[in-house]
Symmetry: C2
Subunit: 228 residues, 2 copies
């Protein structure tokens, strides 16, 4: 037994990533959900993987779907915040869309577990996940608004093309799953393809550089973050 | 009790789609896997949904993963056969790629259940599904070969773009899941976007028409079909 702070005994030494019990539970659950399956994972097996008692797990999460909800939120929160900030800026839509797509691909790749693979779970259609679905829809609409603005500038592509950049970005989840590795090449390939798809024909090098500067400027940790 | 042919009693009248018990089992399993979850569905609940005894189900499928394997095969068999036929034809790569993408989007939309949503199940990484994975990889490589041929003709797009048409086609699975309906618009939108993405700039109306004729010619039910 190992003690972790105020008197709560552990069954075995800490072995998960994460600096808090809550983070360790999330990491263990993410691993089990993405490698063993959501339906096949019990809160008991999550507690076992962390090395805590099931009762301790319930202290942090009342049910398995609360853990899934917290994990799903991690996959979109940062991208949604960035999208909200970008929405009000004067930079060309192509630059803002490139910035959002690149940021989103990177964070979907950087996450320790490929949690986007859980988006297609039928469980997500229940009312329990209505808030998550609404937030992901918001992110999707940000993509569509930016993409429509790019199309309005360039013209000449099929109506409805603005629906596809969000899909192309999320396809990095499928690449990661099929290749069983993080597709490093996607970080440039997908944002490039997003603009290509919309018929945009400007200077791609310039957009890449502007988009990188834009994200750096907007995504400061100490940036105003009080919009809820 | 209702009798269905040679003496095998049913617990209740037939109520599934499908003209054979095997087809009814597949339909029931497809519904349960896509609406309730693969991990949460037992062979018992599949038998109950068909209205047969579990022992009768085992007569057709030895285990739940055999049912999943049969369902997954349905999602790619026709597209893979078409891709193999198209590979040897003299038509321009853009026409053949358009034909394959349109056919594949249509059949992913036409299937009664959105079975592609099961592609990201961690269970699919087990050796049990190695044959399915290999066949889906073959289909992916057909897309990549055709796309690379289009790029070679057009030039000017980012290296690696040939990886994306397959992903764009499969994104219809995500659209269908998010919209909880078949995205009819995708049948034209996605194949158009596939060519746009590759920098192709010919006459889209002409390609659409040629691709439709090509599929009609190649995909005859009485066409030579003995390549295994």
């Amino acid at each position: 037994m190992t003690h972790i702070g105020p008197g709560r005994p552990r069954l075995e030494p800490r072995r998960r990533q994460g600096t808090t019990p809550r983070a360790e539970i999330l990491d263990a659950a993410a691993e089990l959900f993405t490698t063993h399956g959501y339906g096949s994972t019990s809160t008991r097996s999550i507690a076992d993987a962390v090395g805590i008692r099931q009762a301790s797990l319930y202290h942090h999460f009342a049910a398995k779907d609360d853990i899934l909800d917290a994990l799903l939120a991690e996959t979109i929160t940062a991208a949604l915040e960035l999208a909200e900030r970008l929405a009000g800026l004067p930079e060309p839509a192509a630059v803002r869309l490139y910035a959002l797509a690149r940021f989103d691909v990177r964070q979907l790749c950087a996450a320790r577990w490929n949690l986007g693979a859980l988006y297609l779970l039928p469980e997500l259609r229940s009312p329990r996940f209505a808030v998550f679905r609404e937030r992901r829809d918001e992110l999707r609409r940000h993509y569509e608004t930016l993409a429509a603005a790019v199309v309005a500038e360039t013209g000449g592509v099929a109506a409805g093309s603005e629906l596809l950049p969000f899909r192309l970005v999320e396809s990095v989840i499928n690449m990661r799953s099929d290749e069983n590795a993080t597709p490093g090449y996607a970080e440039r390939l997908i944002p490039d393809a997003v603009l290509q798809l919309l018929g945009w024909q400007g200077d791609m090098d310039a957009v890449r550089a502007e988009a990188a500067r834009l994200v750096e400027r907007v995504d400061q940790p100490d940036h105003d973050n009080d919009r809820g």
